[in-house]
Amino acid sequence: MSTTTTPYAAGLGERGLLRLATAGSVDDGKSTLVGRLLHDTKSVLSDQLAAVERVSRDRGLTAADLALLTDGLRAEREQGITIDVAYRYFATATRSFVLADCPGHVQYTRNTVTGSSTADVLVLLVDARKGVLEQTRRHLAVAALLRVPHVVVAVNKIDLVDFAQDVFERVEASVAAVARELGVAEARAIPVCAVDGDNIVDRSARTPWYSGPALLELLESLPPSEDVEAESFRMPVQLVIRPQGAAVSEEHREYRGYAGAVAAGVVRVGDPVVALPSGQQSTVVGIDLGSSSLPEAFAPQSVTLRLADEIDISRGDVLAAAEGAPTPTQDIEAVVCWLGDADLRPGQRLLLKHGARTVQAFVRTLDGVLDLDDLHAVPAESLSLNDIGRVTLRLASPVPVEDYAVSRRGGSFLLIDSHDGRTLAAGMVGATLPSAPPAPIAPEGDEDFDI
């Protein structure tokens, strides 16, 4: 069989994936913008476009409603809103994108948290006429807490304010102020008109005062977010692989490997590693991916490690670089996005899933909830659906968590209802909420002072 690749395929093979999520208040134009991005990059195949045009015509619209490319559920089309995340894919000459079009409605915030949790870049839409709304602040707070590596602000519906520069600048400044308060280091703003495609793929002649890149240009040039070289190796063990049964070949009878996805850093054959929480040490003697052996593996590869010693390791343990391994703990302070329908209260018992381990957790205290009006923590008795709060948890057994600020994978956890299995919260270890009324906002370029 021929194994030569076409030039096109060869070019595709070298690209990385950038995961993008949309955010912003209801009707600010997220789905329209995603549709525009797909349409203007010629990523919509003709039968899909024909279907969208047909539905649009049936509704008496004169042009295709591009939001229908992602609003695919019956209920979404009836109501003209997004209810749950739609995933779409497209590629340009330099990058491949996974687009997660998230809902804006407050009721569906948990779906927006879902879409944002894996994003490399969040595109936050703001209606130029309305400016920053409560959902804008909530989504920006979520982006800050989740530490989405890049935030881009699309100031949309600029056509409805006559492409006015001063309106854009006012909105840009107010988003920047909120971003700064929440600790989002960079939130670059672009004036766009999603329905017509201004500054989405190509720069628009209708905003001559804007000299920055169009949205796609910016997305194509964002630097990759993870730097595995700078991280310390971590891998939660998902499975211990010990081939058994008659079908296993002679050479693999003695095989014993630890399968998992590298959560951070790089591991090489010969590296000393430690198993957590036991603290037992060994050396990596082999790294397998299927039947091929690799000299090294790095995040987020899924591999199987073989070790020099037969130490006691089981599912849920973490293999870490021997140097600087985290200390397992039973006490966790964290910020949680509460996604359960019933409230969270101190004294509650839940399950906590971190990496490949699930343990019982007890809610010791609730240390505050984020007030979205003035962006600081206020005392609270309970957390309701979509609240962002700080909690102190006690775990039934030690877990090697890390600060979320240091490691997205090492510091993230789920809270789960032990009765019905529901996912109740997204947790970030060691994250904090602003604890007092915010100090006066520091002027631009002056935020590196210490207090």
Binding site: T4, P149, E186, L239, L289
Partner: protein, 371 residues
């Protein structure tokens, strides 16, 4: 059947230093940013080069051209490696968390890729769960032969749920339009109950269809097998939660984020054997609803439909009576990759009559428990 014989594995699929396409980047080490009286540890500060596209190297540039002398080439996974890693993680996690999972295997390309990923996930141990085929009775014989060869080669346990049995004993009735794809739901749900499967891996991809685009990777089904798209469980980071109450189960879609093109590029890269009808071959076909249908026991031309011999291949395989072939000379994986990359129709748009029934046909079927 030469495709089924030779297997070439890439020496180190994951280890080749994958070049980042020429982009300058300045990333300062993450440091807590202190504003006012509070600290929010936050993100890297990035500087964006304004004309990244101009800095792009041509696709033919040799790998050496990407790395710079001073800097070790960054370790970045290529798109396919990233997708593969995610899928394997999902398969392992669900296999570890659940007691009785099963993998839906039809012999079609998506389930073949999923099975290949499962082999990698557990190697050198065998796949620790059975495969389940919901057999419409309207199969392409080549696909059934391929299914059986694959099951045999990998030493798998195959369970078959047969739509034909249901029709024969009256539990299901043939539809007026003759298609059996929608009839698979009941036999599937019964098989899940009978075998007490608590999780079922499916080869569904989000890029296939707009209702599938809304699916979680791990997706809950109630005791009737129903999907509730308006009330899906949050799915955060790469922490998958398949817990559920007794009687419920989860559907798991490890290749959710793969596109048709990714699937074909992966088949090419890994040299995965497929049923021969995916490759160009001559076949007796006739045209119906703008599609080329094969002449066979369940798909006979009606009056006025002319049988012709054409060079065709299949983009999807399903119920033979309603799955269309596309005219194509593409006989190798490389040629198919090129063809799919240039295609202007989605695979379902081009080949599935049953999806054309209504705007929300797939959503409605999925709500009832279809894969």
């Amino acid at each position: 059947m030469t495709r089924l014989c030779e297997r070439r594995r890439r020496a180190n699929p994951g280890s080749s230093p994958t070049p980042r396409v020429g982009m300058a980047r300045i990333v300062e080490p993450p440091q807590p940013i202190i504003i006012g009286r509070y600290t929010l540890h936050y993100m890297t500060v990035t500087e964006v080069p304004s004309h990244a596209r101009e800095a792009t190297l041509p696709a033919e540039a040799s790998p050496a051209a990407y790395g710079s002398a001073e800097r070790e080439p960054a370790r970045r996974l290529s798109q396919l490696d990233a997708l593969e890693a995610e899928s394997i993680q999902v398969i392992r996690e669900i296999a570890a968390e659940l007691e009785r999972p099963a993998l839906l295997f039809s012999g079609g390309k998506d389930s073949v890729v999923m099975l290949h990923l499962a082999v990698k996930a557990f190697w050198p141990a065998p796949i620790p769960f059975p495969v389940l085929h919901v057999d419409t009775g309207h199969n392409f014989p080549e696909v059934l032969a391929y299914r059986d060869e694959t099951v045999e080669r990998l030493g798998l346990r195959l369970e078959v749920a047969s739509v034909q049995d249901y029709i024969d004993d009256g539990r299901l009735r043939e539809r007026a339009d003759g298609t059996r794809n929608p009839l698979q739901t009941i036999p599937l749900l019964d098989a899940i109950n009978e075998h007490r499967f608590d999780g079922v891996f499916g080869g569904g991809r989000r890029d296939e269809e707009k209702a599938r685009a809304k699916e979680r990777i791990v997706s809950l089904r109630d005791e009737f097998g129903q999907w509730d798209p308006k009330n899906q469980r949050p799915e955060l980071w790469n922490l998958y939660n398949p817990r559920h109450r007794p009687g419920e189960h989860v559907r798991v879609f490890p290749i959710s984020n793969w596109t048709e093109l990714d699937v074909w590029r992966y088949i090419e890269r890994e040299d995965i054997p497929l049923a021969p009808l995916y490759y160009a071959h001559e076949r007796e076909v006739f045209q119906r609803d703008g599609m080329w249908l094969a002449v066979g026991p369940v798909s006979q031309p009606r009056d006025g439909e002319v049988v012709e011999r054409r060079l065709v291949r299949y983009r999807t395989v399903g119920d033979m009576s309603c799955t269309g072939a596309v005219e194509s000379p593409a006989a190798t994986n490389a040629e198919i990759v090129a063809e799919v990359a240039a295609s202007t129709l989605t695979e379902r748009g081009a080949t599935r009559a049953d999806d054309r029934i209504s705007e929300a046909a797939m959503e409605d079927r999925k709500k009832e428990g279809y894969f």
